[in-house]
């Protein structure tokens, strides 16, 4: 029951880097990034997809998808099962190579996003099926999110060279910060695999946030969690943007939560983008209503919410 109650737990004293301090540093961070943008001329979207198409053995999963995500927004991509949402996220994170089209991450454009360099480009993601490192403690899971910053070779790590120690200390401080921010302090020494589902999802979010990504991709963050956890998780997602300055793209099956959370929503159906706009625009879009309520998809979506 830690999951449900952690949100109201008093933060424990001495060790806690207070969650309140995070926004300050994060805001400074965001301001810096904005400056860079202004310096380089016109404002670029954090993420842009141009004309992305993907098929598996002749079956089209994505067709001519265009999408732009502006700095600091929470962008949802919704659609019925099999609409291509996961494929879209996997194209953005480079796990799939699109047949056609380009992915822009800031000013860099890719035909096939290099997965191994995502972190350097300031992109982090979570997975639909839990992808925590079960055998590592919660703290070590979070530390993994900044693994790419460890530049010291393994011999220096063994010997504890000044460089290795400094990076380790910085990473640990960053991890403690996120652990406090997401109220994971109580469980931070436990092996992640032993935690309840909702809490593991939060560990994954912490692992993605610790590097303070420019762009955070969330793959069905609300799938499989209880209603109480849903509201809590939604608050965490909003905080991730407000306090950590991350631009967020989330794909979701359950539209109810998404409508209240997102700034803009894109709707996929059969691999095509059928609508794109504010939640209100999308809600009243005839094509969307057809896709969700039409005979073809009898889904259990909570559209009325």
């Amino acid at each position: 029951m830690i999951a449900a109650s952690a949100g109201v737990l008093p933060l424990d004293g001495a060790l806690v880097e207070p969650a309140l301090s995070a926004p300050l540093s994060a805001r400074a961070d965001v301001a810096d990034r904005a400056l860079v943008k202004r310096g380089s001329g016109e404002i670029q979207p954090v993420l842009a997809l141009a004309d992305i198409s993907l098929s598996f053995g002749g079956v089209a999963a994505l067709r001519d998808i265009d999408l732009e995500v502006a700095q600091g927004e929470i962008r949802a991509v919704i659609g019925p099962n099999g609409a291509g949402k996961s494929s879209l996220l996997n194209v953005i994170s480079g796990l799939y190579r699109p047949d056609r089209g380009r992915v822009w991450l800031g000013e860099h454009s890719f035909g096939h996003v290099p997965t191994a360099r995502l972190a350097q480009h300031g992109v982090a993601r979570t997975f639909q099926n839990l992808a925590v490192f079960k055998g590592l403690s919660v703290r070590d899971n979070v530390l993994m999110g900044v693994a790419h910053r460890v530049r010291a070779g393994f011999l220096r790590q063994i010997a504890g060279s000044p460089l290795a120690r400094r990076i380790e200390a910085e990473n640990r401080a960053a991890a403690e910060d996120v652990i406090g921010f997401l109220h994971l302090r109580e469980v931070c020494d436990r092996a992640a695999g032993t935690l309840p589902y909702g809490l593991q999802k939060r560990v994954e979010l912490a692992r993605a946030l610790v590097a303070r990504p420019l762009l955070l991709l969330l793959d069905e963050p609300f799938a499989g969690v209880t209603l109480g956890e849903k509201h809590e998780l939604a608050a965490h997602v909003r905080n991730a943007r407000d306090s950590y300055g991350a631009t967020i793209v989330l794909i979701e099956h359950d539209i109810g939560v998404v409508m209240g959370l997102s700034d803009r929503v894109a709707v996929l159906d059969y691999g095509r983008k059928i609508a794109d706009g504010t939640p209100d625009q999308v809600r009243s879009d005839q094509a969307v209503v057809d896709a969700y309520l039409g005979v073809a998809h009898a889904d259990e979506t909570e559209f009325a919410l």
């Binding site: 598996f56 796990l95 997975f127 099926n129 992808a131």
Partner: protein, 296 residues
């Protein structure tokens, strides 16, 4: 002047011994297909079957009776394995199951030799190994017989899997264990039957290999010959096991004859592995194995 006739002889000899590899590999595939277990104990089962049969015959049991008794024992073994090893480990990661079968192979090997002793037994199945002259190419009569047995075994399996109800349920389980469970197939029963089938394959392979090498501990090492075959053909394809076996058999012999002298010989021990490995790096799921699209 290159001696083509010799080349053909080597090639045919290799292909035929490859059939023997296939025979062992099929035992693996049957189990892997239905339960996702790479059964390292297949070699031990082969040893156990051959040793049991030979020992019964040596104690004066009539041939057909000994065959039936061995068959019955292999069935019992299959059921026992399902009960004591597989059922408690259901839903464990495949590699755990693999390690369990490693342990199982130790148990079966130990038990076989504790029961029947460690001495080498001759096994005569009445096929002379006089070479047959076919248009100038000498071919081992024994190898031909083995190939015929392997061929009919495969045909039998194909018939069984396609036409009988049990066979159909195997294929359902192989396709999707959860769906199979949902429509009411009893997995434990299917697994027990599968292990029994693997036991029968082990018996046939054990008799053929035993007739060639003598029935002794090293018989269980033929499993090591079957592994590159499986890697090449894919763990889940009977056709792959056959083609893979033929390929490995032929390549091994050709390599030994034509490459071996350059490096001091004896490369049969690892030539198959190297070939399988190089192939794997190009095509990670084997010749006929299903390509898995990784879902994330």
């Amino acid at each position: 002047m290159f001696d083509y006739q010799f080349l053909i002889e080597v090639l045919v000899g290799g292909l035929l011994s490859g059939v023997m590899y296939s025979l062992v590999a099929i035992g693996f595939v049957v189990i892997y297909k239905t339960s996702g277990v790479l059964n390292f104990a297949q070699g031990a089962m082969l040893l156990f079957a051959a040793l049991t049969f030979v020992s019964l015959v040596e104690r004066g049991v009539a041939l057909p009776l000994a065959l039936l008794a061995t068959l019955a024992i292999m069935v019992a073994l299959g059921v026992a394995v399902e009960r004591t090893v597989l059922r408690p480990l259901v839903n464990q990661p495949p590699i755990t199951l693999f390690m369990a079968t490693l342990g199982l192979s130790y148990v079966i090997e130990g038990a076989a030799q504790l029961l029947w002793g460690t001495q080498v037994h001759g096994l005569d199945i009445g096929i002379s190994d006089v070479p047959l002259d076919i248009v100038g190419v000498f071919i081992s009569r024994f190898d031909l017989f083995a190939a015929a047995v392997a061929g009919s075994l495969v045909a039998l399996f194909a018939l069984f899997f396609r036409t009988t109800r049990t066979g159909l349920s195997f294929r359902a389980v192989a396709d999707d264990p959860f769906a199979a469970l949902a429509v009411g197939l009893r997995l434990p029963r299917v697994w027990a039957i599968v292990w029994t089938v693997a036991g029968i394959v082990a018996l046939v392979a054990g008799l053929l290999w035993g007739a060639r090498l003598g029935v002794q501990f090293s018989l269980s090492l033929v499993v090591l010959k079957a592994l590159p075959v499986l890697v090449l053909g894919g763990f889940d394809s009977i056709a792959g096991a056959i083609v893979g076996g033929l390929l490995i058999g032929a390549i091994e012999k050709l390599a030994e004859v034509y490459v071996g002298p350059l490096v001091g010989g004896g490369i049969e021990a690892w030539a198959g592995y190297v070939v399988a490995l190089v192939f794997l790096l190009v095509r990670p799921s084997g010749l006929f194995g299903q390509k898995l699209v990784e879902r994330v």
